[in-house]
């Protein structure tokens, strides 16, 4: 009996763990007030505070947002429209159902005027739906899906730092131009991976390259040896890997240990400086990827990174800088509008051209609320090039905003 | 009482232990399966527990062995109360467990099955040579997995195993079940032989005829109670009545 029971128990555990549940919730009524609703402006940071994306954004993004608040107050002093500003944060655990609930709580209970960050595409789309229903702002920094500014765009949602199209067009095209014509793409078989593969294939082909193989892998996945063998079978110039987090690390280590590394270049779809920092540059020898921002690019970036480091002891990722920029520009829009009423703030943001610490040649496109800006193809430095702890990336090429981003999607109807 | 003590053999050098069960009750969850059972096995005595299926015979053996722990009452062995002591302590004190499924290990060879249990009394323990001499088939098949033996051979192995430990009291649970008459006969011989060595046996048996050929005394168990205690003579004279009573 005992053994049968235990067997059943284990079988249940196995199957239970394979089922991922997700569910959505409804919206609620909107609220509006006088000049500043409820007497204060509340910025809500909703992101991964405990899981895989904690280090690349997480609690340190709250520090970045608070820096923006301080800078705003210092800039306007007594003339500030928003006198009382509060920053709240919550953990969405990268799950769309939790993101949905937390977003409702932030808008309703915490009286948040805006929600920021929200990595993980499915979670971001859930929050966008809430923003639309509540008529409150949402600026996404952490998620990559183009749907936020495509079919599921709305008046109150903005996409600030990057998307899958831009990741692909940056590194994809630049790699083809530098001689990497034939590609194999290895991607995790879920929404993000499929999206990235579509974007990368299109970018590579636009630039005159060819994607010979697209290899789907399970997600999550520990072992890539055979996938790497398969990807190398067509003798590509470049292998593109679209996995993220722990899976990316698994792939990179096993790629380096495979003989393939000596003959084939590696292009990474989405990578953060925190990934390079935690593993060390040796693991990434010459790997290229698209970065939305790099802290040591110029003096302006570096000055901000120094302030950030003084508070957090680490150098900022592009997500940290993006959260700062989004919060700052939101507050500037409140200042210009003289109110935190959503419709007025949106009006201020739409079409705004921005050059700040984060955005270069930036523009908040009115048509789809995609915030386009110059982005960078970067290469991981070799060990002897590294001069200080976080000095890990070398900018190979700056890709102008209009090349980096897709034109506004006809699917987006505000 | 019989005159068993006089039948000691050269092998019987160990202490002359008595098993005494007093006021033993046992439960499975809420269900009481034994009520206030008293019984006694003298050194070198063969005593059977007779009763229908579900009368509580196996539970009684398991309680004596310390395997069934939801009990009240006392089990004493050689004058000392076994209390809550663990099955392995009881085994090392001289109780030899031969379960109704024979308990042969499939992952152990025949020889390993024999040598697995510790020798608990050097004076009483059979040597491996003695075992193989008595049961040549075990020697022949010593390197086979234990469960590759026939049912009868497994029964021999289970008995030989506790004899090799030097057990002073064998708790035999239905040794004749499912075996051919010729093998049952052989088991009867073995029981008489170990009795001759001063080893006691508490035997659970439904085969009344077989029981009467080996036992000194009998306890009749019904619904968890001892309803009668008989010596073998009166047991034999009442065989028909008993068979009827047992529904056999």
């Amino acid at each position: 009996m005992q053994r049968k029971k235990t067997l059943a128990l284990m079988a249940t555990a196995v199957s239970g763990s394979l089922v991922l549940a997700a569910c959505g919730g409804g919206g609620g009524p909107a609220s509006s007030g006088g000049k500043i609703s409820d007497g204060k402006v509340v910025l809500g940071l909703l992101n991964d505070q405990s899981g895989v994306y904690k280090d690349l954004s997480g609690p340190n993004s709250k520090v970045a947002i608070e820096m923006a608040v301080a800078d705003y107050k210092a800039k306007y002093g007594d003339k500030a429209v928003a006198k009382d500003i509060e920053v709240v944060q919550a953990d969405h655990q990268n799950k769309p159902d939790i993101a949905n609930t937390k977003a409702q709580e932030m808008y309703d209970r915490d009286k948040a005027d805006i929600i920021l960050d929200v990595p993980t595409s499915s979670a971001a789309l859930a929050v966008a739906t809430q923003a639309k229903a509540k008529k409150k702002l949402f600026i996404d920094i952490g998620a990559g899906t183009t749907a936020l500014t495509g079919a599921q765009c709305n008046k109150y949602t903005f996409h600030w730092a990057y998307d899958t199209y831009m990741l692909a067009s940056g590194n994809g095209a630049a790699t083809v131009e530098s001689g990497g014509k034939n590609w194999s793409i290895v991607y995790p078989d879920y929404a993000f991976g499929q999206d990235m593969t579509k974007s990368y294939s299109a970018a590579v082909e636009r630039a005159g390259g060819k994607v010979q193989q697209k290899i789907a892998t399970p997600f999550p996945n520990d072992n890539y040896a055979t996938f790497i063998t398969k990807a190398a079978a067509s003798k590509p110039d470049v292998i593109g890997i679209m996995a993220a987090g722990g899976d990316l690390v698994n792939f990179i280590k096993q790629f380096n240990q495979s003989g393939v590394a000596s003959t084939t270049k590696l292009a990474v779809g989405l990578m953060f400086i925190t990934d390079v920092h935690s593993l060390g540059v040796d693991q990434f020898k010459g790997t290229t990827f698209t970065d939305a921002w790099y802290w040591n690019f110029d003096a302006q970036n570096r000055a901000w990174a120094d302030k950030f480091m003084a508070k957090t002891k680490v150098r900022p990722s592009f997500a940290h800088a993006g959260n700062y920029s989004a919060a700052m520009n939101y507050l500037e829009a409140v200042q210009a509008a003289g109110t935190d009423k959503s419709d007025d703030v949106v009006k201020q943001l739409e079409g705004k051209k921005i050059n700040d610490m984060f955005l270069r040649n930036g523009e908040v496109r009115a048509a789809d609320h995609n915030v386009v800006h110059d982005v960078y193809q970067v290469k991981v430095k070799s060990k002897d090039q590294v001069k200080e702890e976080w000095d890990l990336e070398q900018v190979v090429k700056t890709i102008p905003a209009n090349e980096a981003y897709a034109p506004a999607s006809p699917d987006c109807k505000m | 009482m019989s005159d068993h003590v006089a039948q000691g053999s050269p092998n019987a050098k160990g202490s002359q232990h008595v098993l005494e069960v007093a006021g033993l009750s046992a439960w499975y969850g809420e269900a009481k399966v034994l009520s206030d059972v008293d019984l006694r096995v003298e050194p070198g005595e063969v005593v059977t527990l007779v009763g229908r299926n579900g009368a509580g015979k196996t539970t009684l053996l398991r309680s004596v062995m310390g395997l069934h722990r939801h009990v009240e009452g006392t089990v004493s062995w050689g004058g000392s109360d076994l209390g809550r002591s663990s099955p392995d302590k009881r085994a090392r004190a001289g109780l030899g467990w031969v379960p109704d499924d024979r308990g042969i290990y499939a992952t152990l060879t025949v020889a390993e099955n024999l040598t697995l249990p510790p020798v608990t009394s050097k004076a009483d323990a059979w040597s491996l040579e003695q075992v193989y001499e008595q049961f040549p088939v075990l020697h022949e098949r010593r390197d086979f997995p234990g469960t590759k033996l026939s049912g009868g051979e497994q029964q021999m192995l289970a008995i030989a195993r506790v004899l090799r430990m030097g057990s002073r009291l064998l708790l035999l649970d239905e040794p004749s079940e499912g075996l051919a008459p010729v093998i049952v006969q052989r088991i009867g011989e073995i029981i008489r032989q170990i009795k001759a060595q001063g080893v006691s046996v508490l035997l659970v048996e439904q085969n009344v005829t077989f029981a009467s050929t080996v036992a000194d005394r009998h306890y009749l168990l019904a619904q968890g109670r001892v309803v009668e205690s008989l010596d073998n003579d009166s047991f034999q004279s009442r065989t028909t009545e008993l068979l009827e009573y047992l529904g056999m």
Binding site: L7, L18, D189 | D88, A91, P118
Partner: protein, 290 residues
């Protein structure tokens, strides 16, 4: 054909690793009847332990193998003495839940202390090369892990089949109650066996560190694969765990070669088929009729 040979070798290399990791799970289940859900977390602790050892003392892979393994043995002994032991007499569900709770605790503890990003860990210097035979190619490290696993599995096999301790463990694995009734103090073996199983999980973690991500979550999916391995092999069967480990490694490699993102699904399909055809697993014993 070359591809097939390549996949086979990769599968065997992976299988050796699975076998080693599943062995500890099987031994613990056999002797204690405990389904140790924390096996994945202990595997994670082994890998994180190796990375922390490197970071704190500069001691690399070769030192980590014995040091972390012994440390995990001690950890296992403490876990059994302080926690698992008290629930052994109850329904196995209780220890399953206990070890599940221990998993959550360990994972969060590591997250709190070391964050969520992967910790740096590199190949030992001597194992950075590759071995090429014709167009078939394996990394030295893959070969090392496979050979090491096979040697260790064999050593465990010898220990189990050729020593008295092994005989007692086998007997206790097959039927702990019966072994007690035959005078064996099974309880005395429970603690070291548990420690041994946990040590094997930690050792697997050290072996994984140079070739995979080292972070708090690395064991969370791995344990599911291991469950599949021991279910396929037969609960509590040591030989079954080893054979099923290799089988699952091969299935995963062929799956990656020929079935893409279904490579993991195939493992669970195999598990389902085994459960349907032989509910007790390939090497499991059939249920006693009682």
């Amino acid at each position: 054909m070359t591809a097939f040979i390549q996949y086979t070798l990769q599968g065997l290399a992976l299988g050796g690793f699975y076998a080693l990791a599943a062995l500890g799970l099987a031994v613990i289940f056999g002797v204690l009847g405990v389904v140790n859900f924390s096996h994945g977390a202990c595997y994670m602790l082994g890998a994180v332990g190796a990375a922390v050892l490197l970071d704190a003392t500069g001691l690399g892979f070769w030192a980590a193998l014995p040091i972390v393994t012994v440390a995990m043995f001690v950890f296992g002994v403490l876990m059994e003495r302080l926690l698992v032991r008290w629930l052994l007499r109850l329904d196995p569900l209780y220890n399953f839940l206990l070890t599940f709770g221990i998993t959550l605790f360990l994972v969060d503890l590591v997250k709190r202390r070391y964050g969520v990003s992967s910790l740096a860990y590199e190949l030992p210097a001597g194992l950075k090369g590759r071995v090429d035979i014709g167009s078939v190619s394996l990394s030295s490290y893959q070969i090392f892990v496979a050979a090491f696993s096979v040697v260790l599995c064999l050593a465990v096999w010898v220990l189990l089949t050729r020593t008295r301790i092994g005989m007692i463990v086998r007997a206790a694995t097959e039927d702990a109650e019966r072994s007690r009734a035959l005078g064996i103090n099974v309880g005395r073996w429970v603690t070291p066996v548990f420690g041994f199983g946990i040590a094997l999980a930690g050792l697997a973690g050290v072996l994984r560190a140079p070739t995979g991500s080292v972070n708090a979550d690395m064991g969370s999916f791995f344990i599911i694969i291991l469950f599949a391995v021991v279910v396929i092999g037969g609960l509590g069967s040591i030989l079954g765990a080893v054979v099923a480990g290799f089988l699952v490694g091969l299935v995963e490699a062929y799956g990656q070669g020929y079935a893409g993102s279904f490579s993991q699904v195939l493992i669970f399909v195999l598990m389902a088929v085994v459960i349907l055809v032989r509910p007790s697993g390939l090497f499991g014993r059939e249920e006693a009729a009682s």
